[in-house]
């Protein structure tokens, strides 16, 4: 194995540039280094102005997502050695506005997230006298979707979102389904307006890459198709039995 590897890193300065450019850096190639370690090496030893987000370094905070050789990855859990002999291209997550270098503007995602009301909605706002009980089977129904860390890799992998920024998108839809399937939640009817519209589930053409790139096995594509089935059943109910959806 060679001692070093070349990184082609996307650079963008909002004061200076109108386009993204690329800068190459030669970094040590160590078998235990993640891509994030290589970026931190550049920042600490070569160019302190290189800007990128990270925090936990263990795949929990979801802040270090970047395109690594064209594929959305959490850089803190992507070994750099697998790309030897290189070069490795590191770019900001696709489809998002770029603030600086590898940092994206995530407002568009946060707005979508808020729209689907990703919290437990109760008809009665008063605090219950005791905690809600839940069986293991009820937990199992939504558990997979609750593993989302909001890393936005699924958005970067979704060409539908790239082409139509109004699409609610994989993670927000999966999180909506997470609460819809939660036995404690009563907010499903309120979420329907956002989910069951053209920019919601019906915009999804089942490319499926959101589920492939998800580092937490959330499977947003499954959540969306599952909700399509629910929405269709609900639609038939209201259409055939006007009183059936009450």
């Amino acid at each position: 194995m060679a001692d070093t590897i070349i990184l082609e890193v996307a650079r963008f300065s909002p004061e200076r540039d109108s386009q993204i450019g690329y800068q190459t850096f030669e970094v040590p190639l160590r078998s235990d280094w993640m891509v994030l370690d290589a970026l931190n090496y550049i920042k600490d030893n070569i160019d302190g102005s290189l800007t990128f987000r990270w925090s936990c370094r263990m795949g929990i905070c979801g802040s270090c997502g970047m395109m690594v050789n064209g594929v959305p990855k959490l850089t803190c859990e992507t070994l750099i050695a697998q790309f030897a002999p290189g070069p490795v291209r590191i770019e900001p997550l696709e489809h998002f506005p770029v603030v600086k270098d590898l940092v994206i503007d995530m407002d568009v995602f946060l707005e979508k997230l808020q729209k689907v009301r990703p919290w437990i909605v109760r008809k009665d706002d008063r605090l219950p006298a005791r905690e809600f009980l839940q069986t293991p089977a009820q937990l199992e129904a939504f558990h997979q979707y609750s593993l989302c860390i909001n890393c936005m890799l699924c958005y970067a992998a979704c060409p539908v979102f790239g082409l139509d920024q109004d699409f609610v998108g994989p993670a927000a839809l999966a999180l909506a389904e997470r609460y819809n399937l939660d036995s404690r939640d009563q907010g499903a009817p309120e979420r329907t307006d956002v989910l069951s519209q053209h920019d919601g589930i019906w915009d999804c053409t089942v490319v499926g890459e959101c589920s492939t790139v998800c580092p937490k096995g959330v499977d947003p594509s499954l959540a969306i198709q599952q909700y399509k089935l629910t929405a269709t059943k609900e639609w038939f109910k209201t259409w055939l039995l006007p009183w059936g959806n009450k």
Partner: protein, 136 residues
């Protein structure tokens, strides 16, 4: 959004290439899957033409068979067959995306929920082949 804008940063807005589906194989596979519907449509037209020829008498049917054997139609049919197989396989493999939890209630291996479709496809193909070969 803040009202103050004079020194607010100007983000770079990425533009998606019109040829984005050439970027990675999964995207190209998706496009081929969608485009293969054209070939599904073509076979539907062929079946309608065949039925029309069948009810129009032996001469019409012989003409239809002759037309089917012409090189351009033969090539289109071979191509259609390949794409229809691709269409069926890729859609069958998507069945787990819907069925896994709705029917089986819990996540199961993709192949398990796709398997019945492949099974039915195989049985239907064998029955059709037996008819075509006049075994039954």
């Amino acid at each position: 959004m803040p009202q103050y804008r004079q020194f607010q940063y100007k983000a770079y807005q990425p533009v998606m290439s019109p040829y984005w589906y050439f970027d990675r194989w999964p995207y190209l596979k998706f496009m081929l899957r969608e485009m293969s519907s054209i070939f599904v449509g073509w076979f539907a037209v062929v079946i309608l033409l065949q039925l029309n020829a069948l009810v129009s008498g032996p001469t019409a049917y012989a003409n239809f068979q002759h037309w089917m054997a012409t090189p351009p139609v033969f090539i289109v049919n071979i191509l259609s067959f390949v794409f229809i197989c691709f269409h069926a396989i890729t859609w069958f493999m998507l069945v787990p995306r819907v069925v896994a939890r709705q029917v089986l209630q819990r996540p199961s291996p993709d192949v398990l929920s796709a398997a019945p479709n492949f099974g039915i496809w195989l049985v239907a193909s064998v029955v059709v082949a037996l008819f075509a070969l006049r075994v039954i």
